[in-house]
Amino acid sequence: MSAAPTLLGSASALVARDLRLLWRRRGDALQPALFAVLVVVLFALALGNDAATLQRVAPGVLWVAAVLAGLLALDTLFRGDAEDGSLEQWMLAPVPLAWLVLVRTAVHWATTTLPLLAATPLLAELLGLPRAQLPVLLGGLALGTPLLSLLGAVVAALTIGMRRSGILLALLALPLYVPVLVFGAGSVAIAAQGHDPSGGLLLLAAGLAAALVLAPVTAAAAIRIALN
């Protein structure tokens, strides 16, 4: 055990803690992914007799399912740590709060959204999405969902002072989520028309790069304000 905590040391400690907590509550862990599967399956059933329509709405449906699942999971990002005082101890650690926020958000994304990403090829097949569009869809989701998590972290940090913030959180996050949704689903639609989809994907990548730097700092400032 090292005497002075380093960035890497604190990060690995936080990752180990979160994975352990996830394992203790593994029943809850898959909920967002299951919710997204549910949304997609219901769409497939509701529009089932019309393969052409289903194929056309498939990218939109998959993206909406991913966004809704992300919103559902957002409340658990900081709530537990705020309620039991863990966030106070994070603030008292000699490593920057923004770094811990970034690590926490990354683990949260990996545990809530990555399973959904793994299930996406299957769900795309269910909706009859042409296989040629699958790489664009997966690329968009791989760039877009971490961006959603980072944007969500800022909003979640702002609302940790409130007792029941579920729907307020969704309302605040939605305007920030809309551009990601538009570019993500839009790039698949552009690919479907036979054009080059890289413009939308590059914008998502640029957004992700900016959010990786700015969102943790903003969220850390929001936590300091919210815990006042």
Partner: protein, 213 residues
């Protein structure tokens, strides 16, 4: 006293003030705490004892004034490594056991060279409950676990908010023993209490907070 007469106090607050919703909680507080000294912060309910400790720890932004640690003014965000804070919220994860909680906090906040989890747990009397999930612990046991965290912390300055709450008689004795050891080690402690019913038997200063009308 002569050897520390020239040394700057471990903690010095000058003109510290804080207000909540434009109502002052405390105004222009000045106090020093030397190494080897405990400061008893006294006052009734709502007098601002917890708020003062949270401002010192850097959890709250002071409206004015400076806090100097060992003679150098330290900004709010930089205070972390020098102070350990024991507050009302334990900061423990209910699904993890005592050892897992302590290991995480020690890796997050740092650990004294000479300390480890097993010894800290033995000191606070939780050695037999090392693998009991915090969920199943009593309030007193959680407090003891927080004390173990404090004991491992490398911080020289302890900010203890109601450390005696929820503790049995041996627990109160334990807190006093820990504070004395910390002070003998060249550290200092700020302790809030409602009264002097359980003051640690060490060199103390007192700071009485009155409710600002």
């Amino acid at each position: 006293m002569t050897e520390i007469a020239n040394a700057p106090p471990l903690l010095a607050a000058r003109g510290l003030s804080f207000s909540r919703d434009d109502r002052p909680v405390f105004e222009s507080l000045d106090f020093d705490v030397d190494a080897g000294e405990a400061l008893l912060v006294q006052g009734g309910n709502g007098a601002g004892k917890t708020t003062l400790l949270r401002v010192l720890a850097g959890l709250l932004e002071a409206d004015g004034g400076t806090v100097a640690v060992a003679g150098t003014p330290v900004a709010r965000a930089m205070r972390a490594g020098t102070m350990a804070y024991l507050g009302h919220l334990p900061g423990l994860k209910a699904d993890l056991d005592a050892v897992e909680n302590l290991e995480f906090l020690a890796r997050l906040q740092g650990c004294r060279e000479s300390q480890d989890v097993a010894r800290a747990l033995a000191l606070v009397g939780l050695a037999a409950h090392a693998h009991l999930p915090v969920r199943q612990m009593s309030a007193g046991q959680k407090k003891r676990l927080s004390l173990a965290r404090l004991w491992m912390s490398p911080a020289r300055l302890w900010l203890l908010d109601e450390p005696y709450a929820n503790l049995d008689l041996q627990g109160i004795e334990l807190v006093n023993r820990m504070v004395r050891a910390q002070l003998d080690d060249g550290g200092a402690a700020l302790v809030t209490t409602h009264g002097a019913y359980a003051a640690p038997p060490v060199r103390t200063r007192e700071l009485a907070l009155a409710t600002v009308a």
